[in-house]
Symmetry: C2
Subunit: 375 residues, 2 copies
DNA sequence: CTGTTAGCGCTTTCAA
DNA sequence: TTGAAAGCGCTAACAG
């Protein structure tokens, strides 16, 4: 490591107060009204005379005035900031999802702050406290494979914000708006597809073994369809907090190499795992889907273009992001709205890797089956 | 779409002032000192008598006091907030990188705001203004495949922050700290490897054709190594602002299907593109690396476990993230430091898909060749 | 509909 | 080393 010295330019503007541009006072003076009136033109437009408001807005435009949100928050007003607490788990799909949510919120002039979140981690409580202290207007909280359905501290923290949207796997019924994406239906659809196309011995390879419901749904449906559920049909590849490709590989190697692979259909917890399985199967000389049918989950952008194209389940990211933003902004506008529940069930997305002909001649069901409820 | 109504619970805590926990005044009262002194214990500890400070800190702890950062910012103090402006471009690698940066900053008790950034987009200027108005302490700005080397407005905006770190492809020499990851070396290494292992006709498939330097470096080295650079050896798969798998596929299909694929070595702009190419080649009945050697870029976590394992270039994410955080925090502590430049060149990472024996018996060079400079 | 007046919780002179 | 006092820019009563 070399250390050279070729100059000594140093940065100006060290500590100290920075001038932050025009203030509402400047605008007010220019228009000839009081500070309060000028300010109202922004935060309570409906309390200001049409003409006055226009004059203020025009002056503000001319002076390039923008409200200082620290000051606003401090005084109890809105900061146009929302926290997005998501369990990223290192998967590209999750981070992609938060980007969609972020860009959707930005469309509504809200500034999203995205952060990793795990309700089982006590540190997460601090995070929410910090958000409240910073005057965040709202929070979006994803309770993903959550081990529980009740987090009393969380429910309490949520009440500190003007708006809160929960993103869940199943309706939680907390006192806030909620978007639910049920994945059980997709798991059952995959099981039925496997059975219908002549598969006999299905397996599931997934992380988060803790979250049993999806595994149960899959095997329940498998048995109803007369497939054989072998003793070790659940292959858990969870290790740390996130999926580790090396570990997935290691599990497959130690459990199956040298022996005959006993399954003819594999459901993977997500597309990344499916890709790893696919590579491993190829290496073993097994063909997808001829020898083993393979289905992933969450539909990564590249999945449709792999060889063979990887079947998956549609996570409905865009719709979810739009719903979240809609719920949040409407709540911010009208705090007294009743709590709302939006259901966006996930569905099996047929592609070649799943084998056999696609279900009823299409790549997915037509009825997406969403529900809108006031709870 | 069904609309049901099953209740009318509504949220409390609509607008209005929220009580935000203990204030510095409460702490001061409890200890028996003035507000100013208590506050100094946090923001200017060295101006307070040892004993007083300890008493204040202890009281704060007991009362679970945390400074209100909106107030602090408003009064001109630090907000412990930094903006991370990164060109995500939808690639999982970029988002993964920002997560590393974020978690590194969090270790230093800084709160990162990650946002998409493109210096060629005029809207980005607003973004920085907004950050300044919100009292952000610093910004991390990635100037990626940037078309230019000078962005006067950007350099000016940067001066509004206490700290700024630039993340670039090549040293830019602006008046702020900088981390540079040169990728040209890696491109040259790949070309040399292809030549050494008997490949004759290399191609490059990449987005961002605008950024020609890496393409030039690759073909320059190819020619020096006596490989044949065919007329259409640059396959541009750029369409929108981000890589679109469908478009990559489309380009490959329209240009090569039905004809013989003229190249025996392909360098892809990133691992995702490489995966798409690999699938496409398989579909054409071409084998990697026997018929076509393939190298990606940026080393996605799953790349090492694909079939065949995908060669790539090490983006040195972790080191980069650590450097960024180190530069930022040190600048915040000591504003008068000279500007610093850290160089972290990227290197070729051999794996099976690249064909032939690995370069000098290893998977990569030992000398990582970093530099530390004061400019 | 508009102006006046208090703060929000902190930092920062300026004296003591 | 500490305290008193004056804001930072805005919102929120409360009068007019």
């Amino acid at each position: 490591m070399m250390i050279g010295t070729t100059g000594q330019r140093s940065r100006r503007n060290h500590g100290g107060r920075r001038k932050a541009g025009a203030s509402i006072e400047d605008v007010a003076r220019r228009v000839g009204v009081s500070r309060a009136t000028a300010a109202r033109a922004f935060s309570n437009a409906h309390l200001v005379a049409e003409a006055t408001r226009e004059a203020v807005l025009e002056a503000a435009q001319a002076m390039d005035y923008r409200p200082n949100l620290m000051a606003r928050g401090l005084a109890g007003g809105r900061t146009n900031t929302v926290g997005v607490l998501w369990s990223l788990g290192g998967t590209p799909v999750a981070t992609g999802e938060t980007r969609l949510v972020a860009s959707e919120l930005e469309k509504h002039d809200l500034m999203p702050y995205i952060t990793e979140f795990n309700p089982d981690d006590p540190q997460s409580e601090d995070m929410l406290g910090e958000f409240a202290r910073r005057g965040f207007d709202g929070v979006v909280i994803q309770i993903s494979g959550g081990t529980r359905l009740e987090y009393p501290w969380l429910q309490k923290q949520i009440a500190r914000f003007r708006a809160a949207v929960l993103v869940s796997n199943q309706p939680l019924g907390w006192d806030c708006d909620e978007v639910t994406r049920d994945r059980l239906g997709a798991y059952r659809e995959v099981a039925r597809h496997f059975a219908r196309t002549g598969r006999r011995r299905p397996a599931i390879v997934a992380a988060h073994h803790s979250n049993r419901t999806k595994v149960e749904a899959f095997f329940d449906e498998s048995e109803r369809c007369r497939m054989e559920v072998l003793p070790h049909a659940v292959i858990d590849v969870q290790k740390g907090p996130q999926v580790d490709p090396a570990h997935v590989r290691h599990v497959l190697d130690t459990r199956f190499t040298g022996r005959e692979f006993p399954f003819d259909a594999v459901m993977a917890g997500n597309d990344e795992i499916a890709i790893l399985i696919s590579a491993w199967l190829m290496e073993q000389g097994l063909r997808v889907p001829d020898d083993v049918a393979l289905v992933g989950f969450d539909d990564m952008p590249i999945s449709a273009f792999l060889f063979p194209p990887l079947a998956s389940a549609d996570r409905r990211h865009e719709e979810t992001a739009v719903e979240i933003a809609a719920l949040l902004t409407s709540r911010l506008e009208e705090p007294d709205l009743p709590t709302r529940l939006r259901e966006l069930p996930m569905h099996f997305l047929w592609r070649t890797s799943a084998g056999g002909p696609p279900p009823d001649g299409g790549s997915g069901p037509v009825d997406t089956n969403e529900k809108e409820t006031q709870t």
